[in-house]
Amino acid sequence: MMKNCEYQQIDPRALSVLPQSAQNNTEKTVQRSRRKWEVFPGKNRFFCDGRIILASQSGVLPLTLGLIIVTCGLFFAFDCPFLVKHLTVFIPVIGGALFVFVVFSLLRTSFTDPGILPRATPDEAADIEKQIDTSGSSTYRPPPRTKEILINQQVVKLKYCFTCKMFRPPRTSHCSLCDNCVERFDHHCPWVGNCVGKRNYRFFYSFIISLSFLTSFIFGCVITHITLRSQEGKSLVQSIQESPASVVELVICFFSIWSILGLSGFHTYLIASNLTTNEDIKGSWSSKRCAEESGNPYSYNSIITNCCATLCGPMPPSLIDRRGFLSLDEAIPAVSASEIELPPFTVKSDAHMCTQSTKDVLERMVHSYDVHGLCPPATPKTTPLDLEVSGPAAASSEPSLSAGCLPQDARQPVVPPCPPFSRSNKRRDSLHSINPAFRLASPSPSLSRTTFILGDAPDNGFIPLP
């Protein structure tokens, strides 16, 4: 019994809620319950206890903000007094309103969840694996699995995402920088420091549009300012010398305008045709159907409807529930399901799966000794015995097998968590080299579960042999 505790789990999710708190609810409140953002598998960073989400690298967001604030600051400090005196007080008012709008949109774009799809739970992943035809090849990276579906009478290929363990919905793409699948993935914008996807595309668009207006406005005002000054009998050079800040603003605005206006135009076109940057670059719908008006199955074939749908459509909720607490319920059903998944596998065990799984189990053992420091000693001893037992069932039910051991262990004392696992990217990469068919949404559990299956299976009498 005590042996079980040693190699237990390492599912950071289950850990926080597993222990005696399963029986004693008050203990749950005493123990620090963790929020889901703390165990989020992607490369995002969270602030304010999960309220704010950012990509792993903020890219040039500070530069973007800095440029905007500096330019506007100079504008208000040096150009506005002159223009208010000579023209109208509305100039700083409009400038101020635009500035506020730009900054709000920028921050909203950067700090909003772009439409991240949570990774598949182990049960889901196992279910999908079951349905996919595995030809039993011995390579560790099977060919990309695709599924063809019909959308509005057009054939669309859905790709299988190896990291998130699911078939990506249409228009979803996996961002390698953030290591997440993002719905309606447009692009990863370094200026904004975040992916642009379904949930923040409208903020991004309003950011670039308002920024175009702001830069054009400042550019125009500065030109007016310098022109008015030089009309008062001074030469151009003199006017510039009197207001050097204006030159700085001019330069910044001049270079920004080209790119920002171009980008705004491009995105306006994308919105009108209901395309994403990703699709446009890949040419997904362009030259395929020349006969039809539009090969894009998502287009409403009306510019106005397309615009309204993208910009004013309903605001979808965040699917990752960053601030939710990890619950015991989530751990246990996922875990106990596996108990019964075993019989079908043992019954239909075929030779291919046996040899493959045994080989993989061995491989994983080797890897687990390198990476997983917690449970070394006992595992080798029991390995040979377990391999026989768990061999046929091992294939894709392995994660579930190990998960299956959890409910018993729920009654055991707490096992110290392995925090590095849940967030260490390096370790995740090494894990990825293992057969992807066995990779779970969170790498650490699969590893730990492996080791623990090897150690525990016979003790628990877990695997009901047919």
Binding site: F104, P169, S206, C308, G313, P314, I332, S336, E339, I340
Partner: protein, 143 residues
């Protein structure tokens, strides 16, 4: 109600026999719709019509959430005009419908699925990818 176990108790006491996953149906685009094909694993547990009715209602609710109508346009324009700060105070239409869906699923579970040893998981907990139907072992029902 003393005889019927609460869902929590059932989940903790009963062993899970299997899980069925109902995937999304993308034939109409990216709108949230689930396949209403009746899974074979549930044949022994529940009436096909009952199940399909639940699925149809759920699909209708999701369609309502994502509907492009005047309400969503007004909400979108208002949000844009207030620099999207209005979402900090107000609940979006989608969120309101999601709450309705959660209530509906809870109600269906209590009335129809739990007595048959089944449990529907709200798709929002699975990232709107699947509807997970947990099938509990029969012996838990005879307690």
């Amino acid at each position: 109600m003393a005889e019927t176990h609460s869902l929590q108790d059932m989940r903790q006491q009963a062993a899970v026999a299997a899980k069925v996953f109902l995937q999304r149906d993308y034939s109409n685009g990216t709108v949230c719709q689930f396949q209403s094909k009746f899974p074979s694993e549930l044949e022994t547990r529940i009436d096909k019509q009952q199940f399909e009715e639940t699925m149809q209602t759920l699909n209708n609710l999701y369609a309502e959430a994502e509907k492009l109508g005047s309400q969503s346009y007004i909400e979108g324009c208002l949000a844009c005009l207030t620099a999207y700060t209005v979402f900090l105070c107000m609940e979006t239409h989608y969120e309101k419908v999601l709450k309705k869906i959660a209530k509906y699923i809870q109600e269906q579970n209590d009335k129809i699925y739990a007595p048959r040893g089944l449990l529907l998981t709200d798709p929002i907990e699975r990232g709107l990818r699947v509807i997970e139907v947990t099938i509990f072992e029969d012996r838990s029902l005879t307690r």
